[in-house]
């Protein structure tokens, strides 16, 4: 199994490298980073040339890629348009976004499995139908609408009723926040509440639908009937015989959707004005900041690859056949 994972990892690294080539080329073509500076009448020609040189804009795209790639091998992501080191900037943005994404993903998986199994077991009942309805409505609503509704029609009225900001909806922390990590934690947590809820609601619905139907399918299998007729307790049959099989397709969907969660994080951050990766990316695009954009795309791709590898491990645990393939 270890070799299997290793093989997958090597293949992913190759794909990752290919993606950097394409992404770099695409981003370079997306606009002129100095477009606004060129418009500025107070800027001397020499300064402009200096900027062009610093950003390697006088070289062709393959050469620029090579310079960037060499930097990457040394662990540098380059500098952004304002001359700041991208690595430290994106690192702090990343840890803000990860707070939300990790908690929301885990929460969404748990909710999806629990509601999906409940709906499948009580198929056709009130619970099943109301879960289905909620799932479809959530699936049919854009992320930002869910976010805005939660923010404007849930959090703000509560805040108004309470007379203070019980449910903060702007930013990932209070502006004046000091002290040790444990001291800051409650503030982080309360700021995370609404955005994480939004991202969870957006992510879990399709998984729950999937969990339900794959559970129903697994319930019909012969080995389940055998387990029942052996006289195993219903709980044991449900967990060991049905759920284990039903989880396999769900794991795939979760892995494929991870890119979607990162996309959802861009939107959620924008709704709740967080300064995470989404904000980083949107402002980089707004400023046509090539290296900042590439850095975002690279890190996203890396996360997607790691997540897919984790899924492969989960697969191998759930389905022994894969281990020996």
């Amino acid at each position: 199994m270890f070799r299997y994972i290793l093989r997958r990892f090597a293949a992913s690294i190759l794909t990752l490298w290919a993606s950097t080539v394409i992404v770099f080329w695409l981003v370079c073509l997306s606009g002129d980073p100095l477009g606004e500076l060129r418009m500025n009448p107070h800027l001397s020609h020499e300064t402009l040339l200096l900027r062009i040189h610093a950003l390697h804009l006088d070289k062709s795209i393959p050469v620029r890629y090579w310079i960037w790639f060499k930097g990457l091998l040394h662990g540098s992501l380059g500098i952004n348009l304002e001359g700041q080191v991208i690595r430290s900037g994106i690192a702090s943005a990343l840890q803000i976004t990860l707070r939300m994404v990790v908690v929301a993903t885990l929460l969404a998986i748990v909710i999806a499995v629990v509601t999906g199994v409940l709906a499948a077991v009580r198929r056709g009942g009130i619970l099943d139908r109301s879960f289905s309805f909620i799932n479809f409505v959530l699936l049919a609503t854009p992320t930002f609408v869910i976010g805005l509704v939660l923010k404007l029609y849930v959090a703000l009225p509560i805040n108004q009723a309470a007379g203070s900001y019980v449910l903060p909806v702007n930013g990932s922390q209070s502006p004046t926040l000091t002290g040790s990590f444990w001291h800051r934690l409650p503030d982080y947590a309360i700021h995370m509440l609404m955005p994480t809820l939004t991202l969870t609601l957006v992510s879990y619905s399709s998984w729950a639908i999937y969990q339900r139907s794959s559970f129903l399918e697994a319930m019909d299998m012969d080995h389940v009937r055998l387990a029942r007729s052996k006289g195993l307790s219903p709980r044991r049959v449900l967990v060991r015989h049905i759920l284990r099989n039903a989880m396999i397709p769900v794991v795939t969907v979760v892995a494929l959707d991870f890119a979607g969660i990162l996309g959802g994080a861009i939107i959620t951050e924008s709704v709740y004005s967080w300064n995470g990766m989404g904000h980083w990316f949107i402002s980089a695009v707004g400023a046509t900041d090539v290296y900042a954009m590439v850095a975002y795309l690279l890190i996203t791709a890396l996360f997607i690859i790691v997540f897919n590898l984790l899924t492969d491990v989960a697969y191998a645990i759930l389905d022994p056949r894969i281990r020996y393939a």
């Binding site: 794909t15 290919a18 992404v23 049919a140 609408v145 494929l256 996309g263 939107i267 954009m293």
Partner: protein, 339 residues
């Protein structure tokens, strides 16, 4: 009869929405639909009397029957039709309504302004109806692009296998690790300056989103490849193109069509998301997403500006989902058993 009528109208409507917003063409098309339906009904009634005894239902006939037995799917189809017809009617009879300044600012919904007016005095009903048309056009173009590119790539990968398959799968993996939304955001600067943003947007979304269809078709082809009827066709000397087009593709139509409806819903949602970020469809073009984007600032003091576009968007997507669900159980009864 009703089924034929419904399916016919929706096809014509979608084509009309796709071809042009120029209203005389639409009047003509609506007249054409009415005429076809009237003539067709007479012919069919005649034909039905003749074959009543031996009722022959083909593959599609059976599928239609299954679809019609699905109440939620029929409801979705009807709602979808009503929405599309209303937006077509609005754009025919009130062609520039979405751009006309009424002089009433932020007026709540009334008989005169069904959905109220916006902060610049535009009748929201007109704007929403126009936005629906734009969104549906985006959805149709996206589906056409994803289905054609995805089917071709998937068919090639699944039929030939081996190295060709490996190369195509690698390309698909590339698309998987670079999220489509990010690429769209990167390209948004170019989009904004285009003369027909919504069309360009739709084509790009389609070119970014074909991988799912390709994987679907590939998987189906891999299992069809070794089936007896394909072997038989090959033994009879049929060429590759003929085997793919006449023997294998028809057997994958079900999943492709179902996926097409989901793609439509997804592309409308994606358009709305891009517009919310200010990167999608730009004025003077409107879309539901653009309306939501401008309406969010008034969501508390003038909730109709936000809630009407949001509600219509929800109903639109939900009805597409229900239709897709109905199609799934109609076209692929085996897989839909677990519903």
């Amino acid at each position: 009869m009703l089924k034929r009528l419904l399916s016919f109208i929706i096809i014509i409507d979608l084509v009309a929405a796709l071809i042009s917003f120029y209203w005389p063409i639409k009047v003509f098309l609506v007249a054409l639909v009415a005429w076809r339906v009237l003539i067709g009904a007479k012919k069919r009634r005649k034909a039905k009397r003749e074959v009543d005894i031996v009722q022959v239902l083909g593959q599609w006939g059976q599928a239609t029957r299954r679809f019609m037995n699905d109440r939620l799917a029929v409801l979705g189809l009807i709602v979808l039709l009503v929405i599309v017809m209303a937006s077509l009617a609005e754009s025919i009879f009130n062609h520039d309504g979405y751009m006309t300044l009424t002089g009433d600012y932020l007026v709540p919904p009334s008989w005169h302004h069904l959905f109220g007016t916006t902060q610049v005095g535009i009748d929201l009903f007109s704007a929403v109806m126009k936005g629906i048309l734009v969104d549906i056009r985006v959805a149709v173009v996206v589906s056409i692009v994803t289905i054609s590119v995805g089917t071709i790539m998937g068919a090639i990968a699944g039929y030939f296998g081996g190295k060709v398959d490996a190369v195509i799968m690698q390309i698909i993996n590339l698309f998987l690790i670079v999220p489509g939304l990010s690429i769209l955001i990167v390209l948004s600067n170019q989009l904004k300056t285009s003369s027909d943003t919504s069309l360009l947007l739709a084509v790009i979304v389609g070119l970014l989103g074909w991988t799912y269809v390709a994987r679907l078709v590939r998987a189906e082809f891999l299992s069809l490849r070794t089936r007896d009827f394909v072997e038989a066709a090959r033994a009879l000397g049929a060429g590759r193109v003929r085997i793919i087009a006449r023997h294998m593709l028809p057997n994958t139509m079900g999943p492709i069509v179902v996926n097409g409806t989901l793609t439509m819903a997804g592309s409308i949602l994606l358009e709305a998301t891009l517009s919310f970020l200010g990167l999608g469809i730009q004025p003077p073009e409107v879309s539901l997403g653009a309306l939501l984007q401008s309406g969010q600032d008034f969501a508390q003091n003038a909730p109709w500006c936000f809630l009407f576009p949001a509600g219509i968007l929800l109903i639109l997507i939900l009805s597409i989902f229900f239709v897709g669900d109905g199609l799934q159980s109609a076209l692929d009864p085996r897989k839909a058993r677990a519903k």
